[in-house]
């Protein structure tokens, strides 16, 4: 017997009596505007918010947020890249990116998360190898909680999908919170309507 068949046969022989699968409600008891919940959760998770009003220039804002940035790589045409992002680029070639800019498909109010996949990132590693990540989010595209988020059909089609919540973090040494453990040192969300 192959290992596959051995494992499956052992599992089948030992399975306990059938237990019914419950239905999962969406628990939508959220109160208050989603954008406020999102912002509060994001800040709690170490993320930043930068105000972006009508008529502001995105490139100028990026310049003011990251005055020392040499390499800016944007996966969305809404921001200008200092070096164009090639979706076929070797991931390691993004190691010197200072600021990455992406547009999230949607956000989650409960946790302050943004949803990204290979469609939004072009090169998945962009959101991890860059020093700083800037995420554009349409405030109209915020869902209440994770149950709503997992109802999004794109989870079924994306090769890679990630809920990103704040920057890379660790508290593995004495519980001291550090941002920029291995991935981005900061994450800034700009509310930019589509």
């Amino acid at each position: 017997m192959t290992s596959r068949d051995t494992v499956l046969a052992a599992v089948r022989a030992n399975q306990p009596a059938s237990v019914r699968l419950p239905a999962v409600p969406v628990f939508e008891a959220n109160t208050g505007p989603l954008i406020e919940q999102f912002q509060e959760a994001l800040v709690r998770m170490g993320g930043k918010l930068a105000p972006f009003g009508d008529g502001r220039d995105l490139d100028a804002l990026l310049k003011s947020l990251f005055p020392d940035a040499k390499v800016i790589c944007s996966a969305t045409p809404e921001a200008r890249s200092t070096r164009p992002l090639d979706k076929n680029a070797a991931p390691a070639s993004l190691a010197d990116v200072d600021v990455a800019v992406v547009r999230a498909a949607f956000g989650v109010a409960e946790t302050g998360s943004v949803w990204l996949s290979e469609d939004e990132l072009k090169v998945n590693a962009l959101a991890y190898l860059a020093q700083h990540l800037v995420v554009l989010l349409d405030p109209a595209r915020i869902v209440g909680n994770l149950h709503r988020a997992y109802g999004d059909p794109r989870f079924k089609t994306a090769r890679y999908a990630v809920l990103v919540t704040g920057p890379s973090a660790t508290a593995d040494i004495e519980g001291v919170l550090i941002h920029g453990a291995q991935g981005v040192r900061s994450l800034t969300v700009l509310m930019v309507p589509l």
Binding site: L129, F155, L163, T165, T170
Partner: protein, 458 residues
């Protein structure tokens, strides 16, 4: 093999008082943060019931769901492998790496690969393995196993980490600044991410519906391990399966809240298919799980989502440290899992518990942990795995308790003995309870003699 002596190992842990004090405080702090999160969600108990039922349902149909997962994952372009046990798991991983001539492997944290002792197996075959979770890397560099399933180096203080890093990665000796130490590791690890031949992750959940799996990290190290090299190997225990994507909502809402008291991990990453031009290999591993599935009292432990809440709340774990359990899995969850791997080696672990039930109360998937600990004690007694002192004590207590006259005589004799015997006769190896505690002063009168005196005539 001699059984792991948890009490003896703990006695060394306890001697380092600064470490003990910090360990206890840090883990209790995680427990308090977990409480704040749990209390902030009105449907928390509903979520626990759902999570438990979804897991029980899946385990009761596990073979079908595994087949569904395999079929979907293969259709997505992943290569699915099966491993019966730890040695086959390690061999499968090595074969995949060898077929790609891979010499360096960056990996995120996986309890399964720790359980299989994979690192030494690969290293002996010339493969450099780099743990990329900070805590796990600290433990790798110090040649110690993780002491906690979520915070692997929680038993170390910053000075310990500083010494390990100075010795192994050339950081500045004596620099105990935590920011400096974390940055030193970031700088040390980055070249590995950029040049590694292969990346490895574990999985927190594997979804049968679409053949995807989910990895939760705070550092983003799993995403770097999976998204930079051209080869991604995911090692997944067969109990990680859940039926559908919609079920992730239940588990992701509770995982990090239970583990660290944060609403979600910084990165919740879903892998469904390889990037174009790369390969994704999934190693579905049994290693004792199918056996446990057939154990009437213990299959519930397979519901575990490895959040570590039971460890953080356990007074014994907090004051003895994970390494004292001598096993990959420590704390309450370890006590009920480890004996399946080696009954004799872990035969003393069920006594590393006060049976207070706190572990059961915080468990997000409602595993009856303390009841299982009690049941393991019964099994150890039946299988003759009790230490001599405990066995003799239980035999004598059993005899005394079953005979009222003997019991009465013993009670009055004990009172007399505690009052009048010299200390060495009361506080010795026959009385481990008295090692850190004073035996309470005996009451002046037993209840029975008081009753006979005052109530009997009424």
């Amino acid at each position: 093999m001699r059984p792991v002596d948890h009490a003896e190992a703990s006695s060394h842990f306890i001697q380092a008082t600064a470490h003990l004090e910090f360990h206890d405080r840090r883990l209790w702090d995680l427990r308090l943060k977990r409480d704040r999160e749990a209390h902030g969600i009105a449907e928390w108990e509903d979520l626990r019931n759902l999570a438990s039922a979804i897991k029980e349902h899946t385990l009761s149909h596990l073979a079908d769901y595994l087949e569904q997962f395999e079929a979907k994952a293969s259709k997505n372009g992943a290569h699915v492998h099966w491993a019966r046990d730890a040695s086959e798991h390690n061999q499968v991983v090595h074969d995949i790496l060898a077929a790609h001539s891979a010499k360096t492997l960056v990996k995120s944290k996986s309890m399964l690969t720790d359980e299989c002792d994979m690192r030494p197996f690969l290293e002996a075959r010339g493969i450099e393995v780099i743990e990329t979770d900070l805590g796990e890397r600290i433990q790798q560099l110090d040649d110690e196993p993780p002491s906690h399933i979520v915070v692997p180096a929680v038993h170390k203080l910053r000075g310990d980490v500083s010494a390990v890093f100075a010795r192994t990665i050339g950081s500045e000796p004596g620099n105990n600044d935590v920011h400096y130490l974390a940055e030193a590791m970031r700088q040390n690890t980055r070249p590995y991410f950029l040049s590694a031949d292969a990346g490895m992750t574990g999985a927190n959940f594997a979804v049968a519906e679409n053949g995807s799996f989910v990895v939760c990290t705070n550092e983003g190290n799993a995403d770097l391990s999976a998204n930079v090299p051209k080869l991604h190997i995911a090692c997944i225990g067969i109990e990680k399966i859940i039926p559908k994507i919609e079920h992730l909502g239940v588990f992701i809402r509770m995982l990090s809240r239970s583990a660290l008291g944060s609403p979600i991990t910084q990165y919740t990453s879903h892998f469904q298919a390889p990037r174009p031009g790369t390969e994704l290999h999934i190693v579905l591993t049994d290693n004792g799980r199918s056996q446990r599935l057939g154990m009437k009292d213990f299959w519930y432990s397979l519901k575990c989502i490895r959040c570590g809440a039971c460890m953080n709340t356990c007074p014994v774990y907090r004051r003895s440290g994970g390494l004292s359990y001598g096993a990959t899995y420590s704390g309450p969850i370890g006590i009920i899992i480890d004996p399946v791997f080696d009954l004799r080696k872990y035969s003393h672990l069920p006594y590393a518990s006060t049976l207070n039930g706190s572990c059961t109360n915080v468990c997000p998937v409602k595993i009856n942990i303390h009841e299982q600990i009690y049941k393991w004690r019964q099994i150890m007694a039946e299988r003759n795995q009790l230490p001599l002192v405990k066995k003799e004590a239980i035999r004598i207590i059993g005899k005394v308790m079953s005979e009222p006259r003997l019991y009465r005589a013993a009670i009055s004799a004990t009172g007399l003995a505690i009052e009048h015997l010299p200390r060495f006769a009361v506080y010795n190896w026959l009385n481990p309870w008295g090692r850190q505690r004073e035996v309470p002063a005996p009451p002046k009168q037993s209840f029975r003699s008081w009753y006979l005196q005052n109530r009997r005539r009424q």
